[in-house]
Symmetry: C2
Subunit: 372 residues, 2 copies
C-alpha cells in the first residue's frame, strides 16, 4: 500500500469517522483501529465501527500501490491533526507490516492490525427510504433530540420516534415530562414506518453534516438498522427496540388560556428567576393575570426570586408550576421573535409553539407540588 | 442596611473575592458566605475567606443606611451576574434578617447569616515589604509557577520560593525534575527573606490583576503570612512551612554543548514527536550532530516518530533524553524568537534560556532510561 493525499482531506475524513471508533479497545482491539483501503481509481476508503455505529467515508488519493490495513484510530488521528505540510505520504512495509506516515521533515511509523479481522461495513439495501435536504434534516434533529431522556436505564426514551403514517412524517422525542414533535409532508410516500433512532446518532449526524453542506441525504431502514448516505459519507446505526407510546393523545386539543410573549425577554427572565428554583424539578411558578406574568421561585434555605414580564394574555387568571429547565429548552430552540403558550390549568399539559410554524409542537406537563 | 451600586462594579468585586469563598460549607457554613459592609462615606466593603486565603475589596456605593451582613456567596454571585439593569438596590429587613436585591422588574430575597460570626480580615502590619509594578509581578509569577509540583503530598514544591538575599530577589519553582528561576535587583532592600508562597495563590493574583492593570502592588510578609495590596484589593494568604532546598547548586555553571534554535519551530516539532512518547515520563531523545537535531520517540505498542530540525550547534555530537512536556513548558513561557540550550551530556542537568534575558533560567534534568 502506497498513496499520497492532502492533509486537509484526510484530517476531515478522520473527524467524520471519529465517533465510530471504539473507546473500549480492551474487549475488541480491532475496533479501536481505522480501516484504510487504498483503491484503484485513486480513492482512499476509511471505515470505523463499534458495532452500534458504523461510518464509511472516501477521499481522493494518489494511489501508487493499492492495499488495505488497520491502524490505531487514536494515534493516526492525532498525528494527521498535528503533522506539518499539505501533502502526506503513507506507505506500508509489507514485511514488517508497519505503516510509515511522512510529511516534510517528520516521519511516523505505526504498527498495524490485520485488515482481515476488521468487520467491514456492508451497506443496507432495500426500498424503504426517503430523501431529504441535509439542512432540513439537521433542523428536524435539532428541534427534537434535546427533549430525549439521558437515562440509559429507559433506552426507548433516549431515541427519537421516526414515523411515517399516510404520507405524514413525524419525528417525536420525549423524556415523559415534555415532548417535541416536528412534522413534515411526504405525500409521495405510501409505506408506513415507526422506528426509534438513538438520539446520540442523530446528534452525531448534525456534527458530521456541519455548517457548509446543503446536499441530499438518503435515509434507508431495514428491520433493526438504519443508514444515512450523503456525499461521500455513509453512516449505519442500530435502532432502539420497543414500542414508542402513543404520543398523539398527549397533545392538548384545546386550551383555556393563551399567552403571546417575546421570546428573548422570556428566556432572560426564566434564567434569572430559576437561579433560586429548588430541588430536582427546578420548580417555577407562572402567575398570569391582566397583561402580566409573574415568574417566581422559592427555596426555603436560600430565598425567593420574582420577576414580572408583560405579555398578551387571553383567558382567565391562572397559576401553573413548571420545571423551568423544560421551558428554557424550548425557548432556546424556537426561532421566532414571539412564542405562544396554550394552558389548561395547573394539572393539564400545556402547548408551546412558534406562532408561524404549525409543524413544530412542544408539550410540557406541569409539576404538582405544594411547596410554592 | 440600604445601598445602591452599579451592577458592573459589584459583579467585578464578586469575581475578585470568588476564590476565597469556602467550597466546603458543611464544615463552616459562615465561610460559604460573602461579608458585606455598607459604610458611611459611600463605600461597600466585600470580604471572603476560607482561612487559607482571604480577599477584601471595596467599591463605591450610595449608602442610605450603613449596615453589615453575610449572604450566600454562590447565590449572590450568580444573581448579580445575571440580573438586568445597570443599578442594583440592596436592602436588609432588620426584622426578618432577609436581604432584598432588586433591579428593574426583578426582585430576589436571600436569607442571611449573622455577620458577627464572620472572621473579618485583619490586615498584616510590619516593615518587611516591597513594592512592585503589578505587571512586573504578574510576569514573575507566570514565568515560575508552571514549574511547581501539583502533588499535594509534597506541599513544599507546590509553592514558589520568594527569596531576597543582599538586595537580589529570586522567585524559584521546582517539582524536583525541572526548575524555573526569575531574578530581579532590589538594591534598596537590606533585609533578607526566604519564604514559600502557594502557587495557587500566586496564580489567583494573576487572575485578579487581569489584563488592564498597571498599578503598584505592595507585598508584605510576617511570620507565616503574606499580603498583597493593590488598588482597592487586599489579599492575604498563609505561607508554606518547610526548608526549600538549595537551588543554587542545581544550576549548571558550565556546559559542553550549546544550541541556538528557533522557538516556534521547536515547539511544533516537540508537539508532533511527543504524540508517540511513551510512559509516565514522556521520554523524547534529542540527537545533536552537525547543524541538525533529530527528535525521536518510540512506543513499542504503537510505533516511532522522528523529526529533524536545523539549529546552530557548538560542541560535540550528543544524545540526551528529556521529558518532552518539561521542554514544551519552557518553550511556551519564553518570549524570544530564539532559545538557547546548554547541555552537559546525557546524565547532567541542562540550562534553557532566552538569550536576551539573563534574569530568567530554566534547569531540566535528563531522563535516564534504556528504552530508546
Amino acid at each position: 500500500m502506497i498513496f499520497q493525499c492532502l492533509k486537509q482531506d484526510l484530517a476531515s475524513a478522520l473527524m467524520t469517522v471519529q465517533k465510530a471508533i471504539s473507546t473500549k479497545p480492551a474487549s475488541t482491539p480491532i475496533l479501536s483501529g481505522i480501516y484504510l483501503s487504498a483503491e484503484e481509481g485513486n480513492v482512499l476508503t476509511i471505515q470505523a465501527t463499534d458495532y452500534e455505529l458504523a461510518i464509511v467515508t472516501k477521499i481522493k488519493a494518489n494511489v501508487e500501490q493499492p492495499g488495505k490495513t488497520v491502524i490505531s484510530g487514536k494515534f493516526f488521528t492525532e498525528i494527521i491533526k498535528k503533522i506539518s505540510g499539505n501533502s502526506i505520504n503513507i506507505e506500508m512495509d509489507e514485511e514488517t507490516k508497519k505503516v510509515k506516515i511522512s510529511s516534510e521533515h517528520a516521519q511516523f511509523t505505526l504498527v498495524t492490525m490485520p485488515h482481515e479481522e476488521f468487520p467491514t461495513i456492508k451497506p443496507l439495501i432495500g426500498t424503504n427510504f426517503i430523501k431529504l435536504n441535509s439542512n432540513q434534516f439537521k433542523d428536524i434533529i435539532r428541534k427534537t433530540t434535546f427533549a430525549c431522556s439521558m437515562d440509559e436505564g429507559r433506552p426507548l426514551f433516549t431515541g427519537c420516534l421516526f414515523e411515517i403514517t399516510d404520507g405524514i412524517f413525524n419525528m417525536v422525542a420525549t423524556d415523559t415530562h415534555r415532548m417535541a414533535i416536528k412534522t413534515m409532508d411526504f405525500t409521495n410516500l405510501t409505506e408506513n414506518v415507526k422506528i426509534v433512532i438513538p438520539a446520540k446518532i442523530l446528534n452525531e449526524i448534525v456534527r458530521i453534516i456541519g455548517n457548509d453542506e446543503n446536499s441530499e441525504i438518503t435515509i434507508l431502514w431495514q428491520k433493526n438498522e438504519i443508514s444515512f448516505a450523503f456525499e461521500d459519507i455513509y453512516i449505519k446505526s442500530r435502532l432502539i427496540d420497543g414500542q414508542f407510546p402513543n404520543y398523539r393523545n398527549v397533545v392538548p386539543a384545546n386550551h383555556t388560556l393563551e399567552i403571546k410573549i417575546n421570546r428573548a425577554n422570556l428566556a432572560d427572565v426564566i434564567e434569572r428567576v430559576s437561579l433560586l428554583s429548588s430541588g430536582l424539578y427546578n420548580v417555577m411558578k407562572m402567575s398570569c393575570s391582566g397583561d402580566n406574568i409573574i415568574f417566581s421561585t422559592s427555596n426555603p434555605d436560600i430565598g425567593r426570586a420574582t420577576e414580572v414580564i408583560s405579555a398578551e394574555i387571553t383567558g382567565p387568571e391562572m397559576e401553573v408550576i413548571f420545571n423551568s429547565r423544560y421551558i428554557l429548552d424550548i425557548v432556546k430552540h424556537l426561532e421566532s421573535d414571539e412564542i405562544v403558550m396554550k394552558l389548561n390549568g395547573p394539572n393539564s399539559a400545556a402547548l408551546i409553539e412558534n406562532p408561524l410554524d404549525k409543524d413544530y409542537k412542544y408539550v410540557i406537563t406541569p409539576v404538582r407540588t405544594n411547596n410554592m
